[in-house]
């Protein structure tokens, strides 16, 4: 007999309803498949168009130019001691990562019907792969940011070591919200249509095109509940050293992001059962 009977594990397959355990250890078990999914998404994106790589760079660059002209010059919004292009690009790098990861994550279950209906794996892998895959684009856009900063005479100081933590905060937020959207999208396909609207509102609620000083003090507590505020302000501090470390905001944001993430994980797991039936 080829198969050693002593090592066979019995699984019990039975109805599941309600709140399910997170089973995060299973995500670890399937980590190689996660890597394959990330590889697949990144490779597909970069393989299809030569512009795939350049698009990652062109999009934030052009947006930076538009912001500099509209907000910096025409509207005359002050970016403090930092030239507007640097000010804008420092915010655009983490913002582009967040928006991209969030959008891809929200579509990650609905768009993967072919794989979901054929194989078993923890569905958590799908939005997770989106958030991880976005890191490659983030890295590419950083390669543009550094020369830009050097051109304007900004040499990064030791604060730059805080960047990975800020990226982690952005990733956790994207994952948390992405889990909610991915699960809701399965029930209500409206989410696909709503995404541009959601991301646009979120952009206005984040100090990417304008400095945070524009926001009235009365609104600040509410405003700072947005974790991307801390990420963007943190990026500016870490890269230019011209602003103060937004420690309080980072801590609040970390808390908010964790709450959204944990709630999102439980909601996603609860809805996961019916994905293959509905998608």
């Amino acid at each position: 007999m080829k198969f050693d009977s002593n090592h066979l594990v019995t699984q019990r397959i039975e109805p599941h309803t309600g709140w399910m355990p997170l089973n995060l250890h299973e995500v670890y078990e399937y980590r190689r498949l996660l890597a394959i999914f990330v590889w697949r998404d990144v490779k597909a994106r970069y393989k299809q168009t030569l512009a795939g790589v350049t698009w990652v760079i062109i999009q934030p660059l052009i947006t930076m130019v538009v912001f500099t002209v509209f907000f910096g010059h025409w509207l005359g919004i002050s970016s403090g001691d930092v030239p507007f292009p640097v000010f804008a690009f420092c915010g655009l790098v983490p913002w582009t990562y967040f928006v991209h990861s969030l959008t891809v994550a929200s579509h990650s279950v609905v768009g993967q019907q072919s794989v979901i209906s054929k194989a078993y794996f923890p569905r958590l892998l799908l939005p997770l792969a989106s958030v991880l895959g976005g890191l490659v684009d983030l890295f590419t856009s950083m390669l543009v940011l550094i020369p830009l900063m050097l051109y304007y005479g900004f040499v990064p100081g030791p604060q730059i070591l805080a960047l990975p933590l800020l990226v982690l905060l952005a990733a956790l937020t994207a994952l948390g919200v992405g889990l909610w959207l991915a699960a809701i999208n399965v029930r209500f396909r409206d989410v696909n249509h709503a995404m541009p609207f959601i991301t646009q509102l979120w952009l206005f609620s984040t100090p990417v095109a304008y400095p945070i000083s524009v926001v009235p003090q009365a609104w600040r507590p509410l405003y700072e509940l947005n974790p991307m505020v801390a990420v963007v302000e943190g990026f500016r501090w870490a890269l230019t050293g011209e602003t103060e470390l937004p420690l309080r905001m980072v801590l609040i944001s970390g808390g908010v992001a964790l709450v959204i993430l944990v709630a999102g994980l439980y909601w996603f797991r609860r809805e996961e059962i019916m994905f293959s039936d509905v998608v």
């Binding site: 066979l8 397959i13 039975e14 394959i36 697949r40 393989k47 209906s117 194989a119 794996f121």
Partner: protein
């Protein structure tokens, strides 16, 4: 090891259809609410259950399969064969009852499962292998065998969107055939290949049984069933209608009454 590789008890799977269908937009929720309210105003209070259409794809299914058996599964379209295999593969979940599965399940439920059209044969081999549960080292070790079985040597670096449907099936089957699972489930996947390939597949499946693996094989081809499967299960509208030696079953199937 227990006596049975697969044990199914009172398994049921219910789908909710129609107005309660899930993948609508928010506007559908409003419409349904309005429709229900108007209905109640007109006809008085009603049970909510009346408005939902329900389909039992499987009901009261009991089944025991021993290690090493090759079992044929036949039935009309919609009889519940695919749903049963999907539940055993943990792709979908039962509404009632339970299934006990001893060991690892490998399934080939549809042709071209998980292939990415822009990727080459080589890349897809890794992608599908990993999706079906193979370790990367395992895929590398079995790479040459998989390619040889599928007879796609020259086409490995071409995107699979250029493959013929035959090549597609051969590659997909070949990956599944090299899975290290003691329970293998096949859902009508061999029909697309040519005669030579079908022979190869049947031969491979016979080898699986000799290795002690358990196989469930769905087919509409009665001759294949007779050749391959000592035991056949007939499904009908979500229930098991017959379960026994293939020769007897085919007698009944071909000459009912």
């Amino acid at each position: 090891m227990g006596e049975y590789a697969i044990e199914v008890s009172q398994l049921g799977k219910r789908f909710v259809l129609g107005t309660r269908g899930l993948h609508r937009g928010l506007h559908q929720v409003y419409e349904n609410a309005v429709r229900r309210t108007v209905g109640r105003l007109k006809n008085g209070p009603q049970q909510d259950g009346d408005t939902a259409r329900v389909l039992w794809a499987l009901r009261n299914v009991d089944l025991k399969i021993r290690h090493g058996e090759i079992v044929g599964l036949i039935g009309h379209n919609g009889a519940g064969k695919s749903v049963l295999l999907k539940i055993l593969s943990r792709i979908t979940w039962p509404t009632e009852g339970y299934a006990l599965v001893e060991g690892k399940v490998g399934s080939m439920l549809e042709v071209g499962a998980g292939f990415h059209p822009e990727f080459t044969g080589r890349e897809n081999l890794f992608l599908v292998g990993a999706t079906l549960g193979m370790e990367l080292s395992e895929i590398r070790a079995k790479f040459d065998n998989i390619v040889a079985f599928a007879e796609v040597e020259g086409m490995l670096d071409t995107p699979v969107k250029r493959y013929s449907s035959g090549m597609y099936v051969r590659l997909a089957f070949s990956v599944a055939a090299h899975l290290d699972a003691n329970i293998m489930l096949f859902d009508e996947v061999i029909a697309v290949g040519d005669v030579n390939f079908r022979e190869k597949c049947l031969q491979r499946i016979k080898e699986m049984s000799a290795e002690g693996r358990t196989v469930i094989f769905v087919s509409h081809n009665l001759e294949t069933l007779r050749e391959l499967c000592p035991r056949t299960i007939v499904m009908n509208h979500g229930h098991i209608q017959h379960d026994g030696p293939t020769n007897e079953i085919l007698e009944k199937y071909q000459h009912p009454g």
